[in-house]
């Protein structure tokens, strides 16, 4: 992975000229097709988006609009059939499985609708997991995990297992796990989908706080009132960007 040896500034210099220098995510003409039996489903049909550092973006759209596919693509869980994707200067579209795993570990913090915590491991062990795969030593791993857990307000419950925590607390553990390796982006897929409205507000407040502290956040949701917390909203329809604007302007 020779490209990985370059630092961020050097990688950014390799991007197309019209891209802002602080772009974290750049997609160009992104296509993704699936073969379902005899039918070819075009989940993404030419998506061009640019997301800059410290943006808080909501990706919205009805089911079938391609937002899950776009999320998988941005999250480096999937690669495009056509088009290009740069994440923090890494040209993701040409990486193999193991390189994608390393990129996910280093650049992306996932928060899922169903939390996706390891049930048999304590909150602390769950948060340490990305650092294990990053090759961070035991002592430093623990310290960093504890720090992040305190940051999300779970300093008192870090030795509990997921089934001993409430839904909101579980999602906080997931957020801590997403943040622990200092990723370029926090990628949240319906993070409040399994939470009641009061807890949803708490989690969204946490996201806003993180955003104010400089974290780039991408939120995939179909709920307009959740998307309201983001500063920018991208709406997909039929695998294309239907609208892309600042939340403040939409209301204006």
């Amino acid at each position: 992975m020779a490209r990985g040896m370059l630092d961020t500034a050097e990688r950014m210099a390799l991007l197309p000229g019209d891209v802002p220098r602080d772009a974290v995510i750049v997609t160009r003409n992104l296509h993704r097709e699936y073969v379902m039996g005899t039918e070819v489903v075009r989940a993404l049909n030419g998506v061009d988006i640019t997301i800059r550092r410290n943006e808080f973006v909501a990706i919205m759209g009805p089911s079938g609009s391609g937002k899950s596919t776009l999320m998988n693509m941005i999250g480096c869980l999937d690669t495009p059939s056509e088009g290009e994707y740069w994440l923090n200067g890494h040209r993701v579209s040409e990486l193999d499985d193991d390189d994608l795993a390393r990129i996910r570990n280093k650049e992306i913090g996932f928060v899922f609708q169903t939390f996706n915590l390891l049930p048999r491991a304590s909150a602390l062990a769950n948060v340490e997991l990305p650092l294990v795969y990053a090759g961070v030593g035991g002592r430093e791993r623990r310290e960093r995990a504890e720090t992040v857990l305190k940051q999300v307000g779970l300093g008192e419950r870090m030795h509990h297992r997921p089934n001993e925590l409430s839904g909101g607390q579980r999602q906080r553990v997931a957020v801590a796990r997403a943040l622990v390796n200092k990723p370029s982006i926090l990628l949240a897929d319906e993070p409040t989908g399994n939470l009641d409205s009061a807890t949803s507000v708490e989690i969204m407040d946490l996201f806003e706080t993180l955003h104010r502290e400089g974290q780039t956040i991408i939120l995939v949701t179909h709920e307009p009132d959740i998307a309201e917390h983001a500063k920018r909203q991208i709406i997909l329809r039929d695998g294309k960007v239907a609208s892309d604007g600042l939340t403040a302007e939409i209301h204006a």
């Binding site: 499985d97 795993a101 390393r102 996706n116 390891l118 795969y133």
Partner: protein, 404 residues
Amino acid sequence: MLIGETFNVAFRSIRANKLRALLTMLGVIIGVGAVITVVAMGTGAQRNVENQINALGANLITIEPSRSRFGGVESSSTVPMTIDDAVALRRDAAEYIDAMAPEMERRQQVEYGNQNINANVKGTTPEYPEARNTRVEYGRMFTTGDDDSRQRYAVLGANVPDNLGQNPAAMIGQTVTIRQIPFEVIGVMASRGSIGWSNPDDEIYIPLTTARFRVMGNDRLGQISLTLPEGVNRNTALIQFERIMRREHRIRPGEGNNFNLRSPTDYLATAEETSKTFSALLLSIAAVSLVVGGIGIMNIMLVSVTERTKEIGIRKALGATRIVIMSQFLIEALMLCLVGGVIGIGFGVVASNLVSKNLGWSTEISPTAVAVAFGFSALVGLFFGLWPARRAASLDPIQSLRYE
């Protein structure tokens, strides 16, 4: 450090499913245990045979009367072997004989004080201990002079004093009666252990001439034991002995022998061969059970991979590479096999001890067998763990995350 974590995960996953892990390991436990027990029994049997060969002496040849065959017809009676045969062998094949012990034997009532036992009494020559690779432990053997003068001297087998309720050293100089005839005990043999179905330690030895004229009343021999001198070709010696015996028994050319020339060591070597074959057979069955155990492990590992699809998805999303996922499952399979192997070794040692205690078979735990069984179980773990581990490593993270 990642390796340490991988071991941890594998260990915790086994601990979380203790019963299942135990049942999975059972195949390997039984396989390894069986290998160790079978090899221990085989090694013990072989050691037994070696000991018996040593006890008999490697150069022993025995001659016994047998039924003769003539043109495929077996005669109904045996032609007895007599003292004359022994005299002729000694005279005409002297250079092929180191020690010679003709034996005439019969079971007799033996009394000592108020004790009365039925023992095998053997009339033989002073060369008996040398010919049968044994020695007199207490007192002395009778001499040629004792034999010629028909002395009523007796040398007891090692167990006889005990059978008569006396300790061996104290028996020297005591009088026992054989068929109401008083004999002075002049020696007690060293213990030899049982050979086949007879136990020479229970026998009593008296001079051949005494036996012939005072006890048995005939000159028929049950057996002649010979040892060959160093450097003599066994086959040449056997041909000589056969020629002399045929001449003495007036056997016409083309007629079958009415005696048997045997080298018990040859017979035992055959027994050793048989026990080896038997061991190999049992070992291959044990190996099959190890392989079956391995398939059990593969089966449960595949179940485990399916069960933990979601977990694999999470780990992959968080940055686990293929090799990390693969080693996690491979190490789990390996640990199952190795823990099973260790339990199997313990099981094999216990089973070997039970076999030797309850069945009276001698067993010997072979360190090689332990090492090989352990190594083989590790190999089974690697081999049968590989496919499930590869399967886990190649799961698609998106599909796995959706798996419920």
